[in-house]
């Protein structure tokens, strides 16, 4: 299990990677990929709290990413809100939404919870697709620029779009990871992890099971929402794909692949799945084949996920 020292080690590793990676970037394109990895990792860290800490599953978290993304697209246009504030608005809406649907949904277990969350995700993407007057429908809509890059430029700090978003996403990911690691060791985090083992057992030792599940659900929804917002702002254009079923699956896969109990693992999982299509472009026809095979093989041979399994192997050798 992780200790307090583990927390700072993990954060330091993450910060170092984010800071030093650009030294090896041969072109601006790598900043873009890096930024995508960080955005994905952010939503996956949220899932670490839900799946890894509290032991609940969700196949609909892309719905929250969709809410966050469209908040950034819609609020500046219709409410005159600054895009930066729209991120917060999206997070609040996602949180409230998670609170409302979480209460009844989280009574369900296993596959029933899976289908209920899945249904929620599909409903969100359906609304985004169908309310064309508002959202532009399946063709999507443009997102106003954050304006921060222009501000930095006026202050004499010239950044390309890729560099800027690499920095912003990396920074937000660090904050997200820091919060998640703090939660892990807090009483709330311990209570959450107690119900991962057994809900019945947890409730007998006085854990308010429903409340802890709900907390994890709401927190993870906020993570997904902020990640969705960042993606929308970064791309400058958004379509309902962001809330799609496949995006939900992708998020869960990243979490489970890297190691669902670990923040660093989540980042690793996000990195692998984000890089996969970029590395496989030569064999684009084989991309799905490889992705499917990777998912199966990792789950069979490294059921804890990549990072924890590797860590255990290294530790095992040390002892």
């Amino acid at each position: 299990m992780m200790t307090a020292r583990g927390k700072w080690t993990q954060l330091a590793v993450l910060a170092l990677v984010i800071a030093l990676l650009p030294l090896f970037f041969p072109s601006g394109y790598y900043y873009r990929v890096g930024a995508l990895i960080f955005v994905n990792a952010l939503s996956v860290v949220g899932l670490v709290i839900l799946i890894g800490y509290a032991g609940q599953i969700s196949l609909g978290h892309a719905g929250f990413a969709g809410i966050g993304a469209y908040a950034c697209a819609l609020a500046p246009e219709h409410l005159g809100l600054h895009p930066g504030l729209a991120v917060i608005l999206g997070a609040v809406v996602s949180g409230i939404m998670a609170l409302l649907i979480g209460r009844p949904i989280l009574r369900l277990k296993g596959y029933y919870l899976a289908v209920a969350t899945l249904g929620f995700g599909i409903l969100v993407s359906m609304v985004l697709t169908n309310e064309r007057a508002l959202t532009g429908g399946p063709d999507g809509m443009s997102v106003e620029d954050l304006g921060l890059r222009a501000l930095l430029r006026d202050l004499g700090w010239r950044l390309s779009g890729g560099e800027f978003w690499y920095g912003v996403s990396g920074f937000v990911l660090l904050i997200g990871a820091w919060l998640a690691l703090n939660l892990f060791d807090s009483p709330t985090g311990r209570a959450m992890r107690a119900l991962h083992g057994s809900e019945v057992a947890a409730s007998t030792v006085g854990v308010d099971v429903a409340r802890q599940k709900l907390r994890a659900f709401v927190i993870s929804a906020v993570y997904a929402s902020v990640a969705g917002s960042l993606l929308a702002l970064q791309n400058g254009y958004i379509t309902p794909d962001v809330a799609g079923f496949m995006h939900s699956i992708e998020m869960v896969t990243m979490a489970v692949l890297g190691g669902v109990g670990s923040v660093l693992g989540a980042t690793l999982g996000a990195a692998i799945l984000t890089l996969l299509p970029q590395v496989l472009t030569v064999f684009a026809e084989y991309e799905q084949l490889v992705l499917g095979a990777v998912m199966i093989v990792v789950m069979i041979f490294l059921p804890q996920g990549l990072l924890p399994s590797i860590a255990r192997r290294i530790r095992g050798r040390g002892e």
């Binding site: 429908g137 399946p138 791309n235 254009y237 794909d241 890089l275 970029q278 590395v279 026809e285």
Partner: protein
């Protein structure tokens, strides 16, 4: 994607990026949706782009320089499309981009192309791609709005003014539905029923029954592509409608007749391009040569007829090659300027004439009104 493509080895090999072949070459980039929900569009587009680049290189390239094609499959995901566009511009250092099978992916690529000053020819339909005109963005397909106008004009000629519409909720169907609703009034057509279906739905009889029970419907219009229109057409026959059914250019292919069944598809009208009826064209038709040659080459290479969408890719490559040839150098700005000066360029879709105010360059004559007759096509105008 196997041959004639220079590829970077991806991120893992980034540190040891390979030196590129010394010979002068023109780097052309493409990002299409060869897989995923829009594979219907992107797959024939990818095949066309690869085939044409091979042909051009085999014939000695452009002004003696070979084309080095980098083609990515964005899977219809706008997010991936933006990443690939960034990669094409920043990493592969291409001088021009073709692609964007869907409106969503196009809008993502467009942003990068416009920012970096790289000419980009889109393969998607929406009018918003070229209206307002952007310096570096062109497109080859007609807009959805033009398809609507063509269809409504034909309806008016038949004395039809009240139309029931049933459209797919995918990007293509939704966008065309909006455009048709928008232009209907101006052309004297009234949309009296407006139904939709999901792209993977299995039965549309409830929606069609609603349309049938709407007072005064004189024709049904079905904007959509993929399996939806084939099922609508079969359900239409099943319910025994006695009014005409109009489909969109989204299904203008022989495969549609096969899927819907020749019996059910009999009498269906739709706007299509010359590509579809190459063998029916008069030999003195300006498009005869380009259409028949391309269709024959595609058929020979891939053992299937090219779709209308494949034709969009053909025209995009042909326009780009023409512009690079005239520009005389592989410089993005020179290519852009040459593209904009394109006049009377005959493609499979129509005859293109770009101007600083028009980056689509097609008019309604590009569409031909077709009717399915005896399992084949008949040109009506």
């Amino acid at each position: 994607m196997k041959l004639a493509i220079r590829t970077t080895l991806g991120i893992l090999a980034a540190g040891v990026a390979l030196p590129i072949a010394a010979q002068a070459e023109i780097r052309l980039g493409a990002s299409v949706s060869a897989t995923g929900p829009a594979a219907f569009l992107g797959d024939p587009e990818a095949k066309t782009i690869e085939m044409m680049v091979e042909e051009i290189n085999a014939a000695g390239g452009i002004n003696g320089e070979e084309i080095a094609l980098t083609l990515y499959d964005d899977g219809g995901d706008p997010n991936k499309a933006r990443t690939f566009a960034t990669r094409l511009v920043e990493d592969d250092e291409v001088v021009a981009i073709i692609g964007g099978s869907t409106t969503g992916t196009t809008m993502s690529i467009l942003d990068v192309a416009e920012d970096e000053g790289i000419p980009f020819i889109s393969l998607a339909g929406a009018i918003s791609i070229v209206d307002p005109v952007r310096d570096y963005v062109f497109k080859t397909p007609h807009t959805d709005r033009m398809a609507c106008e063509k269809i409504f004009a034909d309806m008016i000629a038949q004395g039809i003014t009240k139309v029931g519409m049933i459209s797919g909720t995918d990007g293509f169907g939704a966008s065309m539905q909006a455009q048709c609703s928008d232009v209907a009034g101006a052309q004297g057509v009234e949309i009296v029923a407006d139904e939709t279906y999901g792209p993977q739905d299995a039965d549309m009889t409830p929606q069609l029954t609603r349309i049938r029970n709407t007072e005064g419907v004189q024709a049904v219009l079905n904007p959509g592509f993929g399996q939806g229109p084939a099922i609508v057409t079969r359900n239409f026959a099943q319910l025994g409608f006695d009014i005409p059914l109009y489909q969109s250019h989204g299904v203008a292919s022989d495969a549609f007749i096969e899927l819907a069944g020749a019996d059910a598809a009999e009498g269906v009208r739709l706007p299509g391009t010359a590509l579809l009826i190459g063998d029916l064209l008069a030999e003195d038709d300006p498009q005869y040569k380009v259409v028949t040659e391309y269709a024959a080459a595609y058929q020979a290479k891939y053992d299937q007829a090219p779709s209308t969408f494949a034709g969009y890719a053909h025209d995009a490559v042909a326009l780009m090659v023409d512009a690079i040839t005239r520009a005389g150098e592989a410089d993005p700005d020179a290519i852009r300027d040459a593209l904009e000066e394109t006049q009377g360029f005959v493609g499979t879709t129509g005859t293109y004439s770009f101007s600083p105010k028009d980056h689509l360059g097609l008019d309604l004559t590009a569409f031909r009104m077709l009717q399915i007759t005896d399992g084949g096509w008949k040109q009506l105008d």
